[in-house]
């Protein structure tokens, strides 16, 4: 059991590390976005300037041109990634502790003669039944 849990540890940590790296990459200024801020989406039917003004005032609300929106997204991605990393470490630590606790576990408190006798008698019933 101990070995199985330890073998699984990389599978818990690996996605956490990847998510964090992904978050950090997104946090860094995007060179493509800086170089070509008006790069259009592939699904765009008619390429027009980003600040196209059709007179209805909506262009003031368009968030993809605001650096503030992008920055806030990156902060939240970074926060989530850090949270995942922390959770991964906590889960790994917990599993390792549990594995260590159960590895050499004595299920019956042998210092308690009454309980030991009780459990022993139950086990002997099972053994007798198996033998039968």
């Amino acid at each position: 059991m101990k070995q199985t849990n330890q073998n699984r540890a990389p599978w818990i940590l690996l996605p956490c590390v990847l998510l964090t790296l992904g978050g950090v990459t997104l946090l860094a200024p995007h060179p493509a976005a800086q170089a070509a801020p008006t790069q259009v989406a592939p699904a765009q039917t008619a390429a027009k300037p980003a600040a196209y003004d059709d007179g209805d005032g909506d262009e003031l609300l368009e968030h993809w041109d605001s650096p503030r929106y992008g920055a806030e997204e990156r902060i939240q991605i970074g926060g989530a990634a850090a949270g995942f990393l922390l959770l991964g470490v906590v889960v790994w630590g917990k599993r390792s502790r549990r594995t260590a606790a159960y590895a050499g576990l004595t299920l019956v408190d042998v210092s308690d003669p009454v309980k030991t006798e009780f459990l022993k008698s139950e086990q002997s019933v099972a053994e007798e039944r198996k033998a039968a």
Binding site: L107, D109, F118, L119, E122, A126, R129, K130
Partner: protein, 314 residues
């Protein structure tokens, strides 16, 4: 995978289970289960008895990880109950199994087969076998909203059995079944027991339990008050009860029975019960012949499980 697993001697091992619930606006807590230590050996049928509110369902919920114990630990086949894999070899039938009403019996059992890790032909075989075992194969396409309570109970049983569990935990399994269904359930439980399965069955239908249980545990007010075979729990009682019919009250007979350490109890017009030590049963027969009293029945005075249960929980 199953074949490679070694079977531990103990299917269920509970150490000092305690469950306390806070009572609103009160300092003291309500104790549902108190310091319960129990070991259920593999194979056989273990009856978990107790009146309503004794803590049976709470114990089962803690065993299946639905509730965390306030204190204590438990293991299913030597795996701690907190580990989801502990339930890999367990089938569970709640008191009243509830499933989405729009699904058919077959769809429910199929879903549970999938959740138990079965797939392909093995799943198909198990689904058919289990639905046949509970007599639901012919009604497998029936939507659950159209099924009776007893039929839903059968579907629940098939869902519990479909993963071919080594341990079957059942909470009042016969509660929704008619007498015929109960008889079929008893036969199924006996067959499963003979297959080497361990059955942990909670019930308060003691007459049924007595005939099928190998061992019983009696709970009262959250505590385990007795545990052992039904024979160990019930008091042997050294006496017989003799039912007789006589034309009129016979004082000679009554005095003689009293001299032998027995008692006479009138039971309506011309009928009486004699309670005498079993060693004197032949002497009593002779006396009855002499006194021209008609013998109706002789029964053992041994305590039934129901009597023992009432004695223990009172």
């Amino acid at each position: 995978m199953k074949g490679n697993q070694t079977m531990p001697n103990t299917a269920i091992r509970i150490q000092q289970f305690t469950k306390e619930y806070p009572v609103p606006r009160q300092k003291e807590k309500r104790v549902a289960v108190s310091n319960l230590t129990l070991a259920v050996p593999t194979g056989g049928l273990f009856g978990f008895l107790g009146p309503n509110g004794a803590g049976k369902t709470t114990t089962i919920k803690m065993l299946l990880g639905f509730l965390p114990p306030t204190v204590g630990e438990a293991w299913l086949f030597d795996r701690p109950v907190g580990d989801d894999r502990a339930r890999q070899r367990v089938g569970y039938l709640p008191e009243q199994p509830y499933f989405p009403k729009f699904l058919s019996a077959l769809e429910v059992v199929k879903a549970h087969a999938g959740l138990s890790g079965l797939a392909g032909n093995r799943a198909k075989e198990r689904i058919e076998l289990c639905l046949r075992q509970v007599n639901m194969w012919d009604n497998r396409h029936m939507i659950l909203s159209k099924c009776s309570k007893g039929m839903t109970q059968r579907v629940g049983l098939a869902s519990a059995l479909v993963g071919d569990p080594d341990l079957l935990i059942m909470d009042e399994p016969s509660s929704g079944l008619d007498p015929l269904g109960r008889k079929e359930l008893r036969e199924l439980l006996t067959a499963l027991k003979n297959d080497g399965k361990t059955i942990f069955l909670s019930s308060h239908l003691l007459s049924e339990m007595e005939s099928v249980c190998d061992r019983v545990g009696v709970m009262a007010r959250g505590k385990l008050v007795a545990c052992g075979t039904p024979a160990e729990i019930t008091r042997a009682g050294d006496g017989v009860r003799v039912q007789i019919e006589q034309a009129e009250r016979d004082e000679v007979l009554n005095t003689q029975i009293a001299d032998w350490g027995g008692s006479v109890e009138a039971a309506g017009e011309g009928s009486a019960y004699l309670r005498v030590p079993s060693a004197l049963v032949y002497k009593v027969m002779g006396l009855l012949e002499t006194r021209r009293a008609r013998l109706v029945a002789v029964t053992s005075q041994r305590e039934t499980l129901e009597d023992a249960f009432l004695r223990l929980v009172s």
